[in-house]
């Protein structure tokens, strides 16, 4: 039996008409391709990261997958449903979390929003109670249920939002920047919860993020989008290779010294006693640190992961080179 992809995009496009004022009563119309012929499939139970710089078309894609926006072209199916045509039917089967805004009722206690979801989605009582208990326990919401949403901290609100998106047992969960603005502990809680959700319930998860760690810790597959086009689709390790990205070792020396000289790493910046060294992301930092520690008076060090922007920038440069040659 061959199961069709659960989420399916075939040459999906979204073109916006942008009108710009160019003078008194004069307007210039310009078309912006926010999503430019994107095709991919996501199998049931997959957990996929969808990344790219600001304005790349991530949110537009999510909005088309939820039925908020209607595609300008191409074919799009989620669970066999065309989102823009059967928006309310699809709504029963998907959960959506927008990192930057809440789906909860702002002025009312958290529990009121949940009670309303219960009725609005027609969730069977036993199922609702079970799901709510589970979310309250794992997301530590117990003390927050009677607090009006507007009084919650960003991290608390995010956990509240995630719970709200899951009460009706959605088959797919879309998360648009779920960890944006969260502190380290909140981020860890959210990630842990999502991992368990995916492992235990087999919920398909598609998340957009700026945080490469979200992807590293959660997703076996990552898609990179930029300027509305799919640049990369595969495992995260492949992304590092594709971008041939580098990690950075920041070394604090006892005093100002000339740039450190070690094989497999090059100094990219020196600022007083602090030096920045770039080394391939695929290499371990341990031998490098050992060598520097042996040869230089090192006080402190830290390793910085490559950020998405840097990786994508590199991918671009390489594509341009290929095109030129």
């Amino acid at each position: 039996m061959t199961e069709q992809a659960f989420i399916e995009l075939d040459r999906v496009e979204k073109v916006f008409d942008v009108r710009k004022k160019t003078g008194f009563m004069k307007r210039e119309r310009r078309q912006v391709r926010a999503v430019d012929s994107i095709s991919f499939g996501v199998a049931r139970g997959e957990m996929v990261g969808y990344i790219g710089p600001n304005g790349a078309g991530k949110s537009t894609t999510i909005k088309m997958l939820t039925g908020i926006l209607t595609p300008s072209g191409g074919r799009l199916r989620v669970a066999g449903i065309d989102p823009s045509r059967e928006r309310t039917r699809l709504a029963h089967r998907i959960g959506v979390v927008f990192g930057q805004r809440t789906t909860l009722w702002w002025d009312l206690p958290l529990i009121d929003s949940y009670k309303l979801m219960h009725r609005m989605y027609r969730i069977p009582d036993a199922r609702y109670a079970e799901n709510l208990d589970r979310c309250v326990e794992l997301l530590e919401l117990g003390a927050l249920l009677d607090v009006p949403v507007r009084q919650l901290s960003l991290g608390q609100r995010m956990r509240g939002d995630i719970a709200a998106a899951l009460l009706h047992d959605p088959e797919v969960l879309y998360l648009d920047e779920p960890t944006i603005g969260l502190d380290v502990i909140s981020k860890a809680k959210v990630r842990e919860f999502l991992r368990e959700l995916n492992a235990e319930r087999g919920t398909t998860v598609l998340l957009t993020t700026h945080d490469l760690q979200d992807i590293e810790q959660l997703c076996s597959r990552v898609m990179v989008i930029d300027h509305g086009r799919l640049m990369y689709d595969g495992p995260l390790t492949g992304l590092h290779e594709a971008g041939e990205s580098e990690r950075t070792l920041v070394v604090d020396l006892e005093r100002e010294l000339p740039p450190i000289e070690v094989p497999d790493a090059r100094v990219v910046k020196v600022e007083g006693p602090r030096q920045w060294l770039a080394f391939p992301a695929s290499e371990s930092a341990a031998p490098l640190v050992a060598r520097i520690a042996a040869e230089y008076p090192m006080v402190d060090l830290s390793v910085r992961e490559p950020d998405i922007e840097a990786v994508i920038a590199k991918m671009y440069a390489e594509q341009a080179e290929k095109a030129a040659s």
């Binding site: 709504a91 809440t102 009706h168």
Partner: protein, 280 residues
């Protein structure tokens, strides 16, 4: 084997909408009832503030005996009908003026991912029973007017009174919806909408004779506000219609209301469609 999913056996859209409206409104009522004293105070406050409109009319009548040839009970009749009808639609759809703000801050999107019609969700948002204050004062003035107007009541005239309230509420309601559709296109147009809804209500508190003829024409044929009270009330009071309309016009309000609601529905759909194809 075909799996059944929730949402497959949906009710017709209008029933789904009414259901969602009821659920959301009930939630807001429960939350406002949590502070009963505060609730009573806001209802009374709303009653007094909206009642000031009628005080304005009373002040005018302390100086003159008639407005455009209409006596105080007759003007009170107009006022009571319009205020009550508007009060009903304001209670049901008065929250629609936040739509532009919700589009600007992006929270409109969250309405689109819920399994209920957007119109019901936005209409029921912040449902406030304090708006009963407006209906109450409108009803009181209407009661006063009914006791004091000099009318030879017939069955037709008796039926016209509740009909005016129902059709009037429907016409104002349609105006709220058209305004909301307009707000999707022009995102900070809440004040334009309010000019037509709240402004329309104020306008209808005065006899048509005090306005210019072209203005009355606009209010009759462009926005069918004249069918809320001016035309049927003229019939009840035995006065000539504004604009020499045909004799049956007093009974045309249900048709006018129905047509205007249908038009508002189309406008709303077009607005929503334009949002979903252009985004914010």
């Amino acid at each position: 084997m075909t799996l059944r999913h929730p949402g497959d056996g949906e009710l017709p859209r209008w029933r789904e909408g009414l259901r969602a409206y009821g659920l959301i409104a009930a939630m807001w009522i429960r939350s406002s009832m949590a502070y009963r004293a505060s609730f009573v105070i806001t209802v009374v406050g709303n009653l007094l503030v909206t009642g000031l409109d009628f005080v304005t009319i009373l002040l005018m009548f302390s100086q003159v005996h008639s407005l455009g040839g209409w006596s105080l009970p007759e003007v009170a009749f107009l006022y009571g009908l319009s205020a009550t009808a508007f009060g009903i639609s304001d209670l049901v759809l008065g929250s629609m003026d936040v739509l532009g703000a919700r589009i600007r801050d992006g929270s409109f999107d969250t309405l689109l991912v819920r399994p209920a019609p957007v119109l019901a969700q936005i209409g029921a948002d912040r449902f406030a029973l304090r708006r009963l204050g407006r209906i109450t004062q409108g009803g009181l003035v209407l009661g006063y007017a009914l006791l004091h107007i000099d009318v030879n009541w017939t069955v037709g005239k008796l039926l016209l009174v509740p009909m005016m309230l129902i059709c009037g509420a429907a016409i104002f309601g349609a105006l709220f919806v058209v305004g909301a559709a307009f707000q999707i296109l022009a995102q900070d147009a809440a004040e334009v909408q309010n000019a037509f809804t709240y402004g329309g209500n104020t306008l209808l508190s005065y006899p048509p004779a005090v306005f210019g003829k072209d203005f009355v024409r606009g209010v009759t044929f462009m926005l069918p506000l004249a069918f809320v009270n001016w035309v049927p009330a003229s019939y009840v009071l035995g006065r000539p219609y504004p604009l020499d309309l045909p004799a049956g016009a007093a009974f045309a309000s249900p048709l006018v209301a129905l047509a205007f609601c249908a038009l508002a529905g189309l406008a709303w759909r077009a607005g929503l469609k334009s949002y979903r194809s252009t985004g914010s």
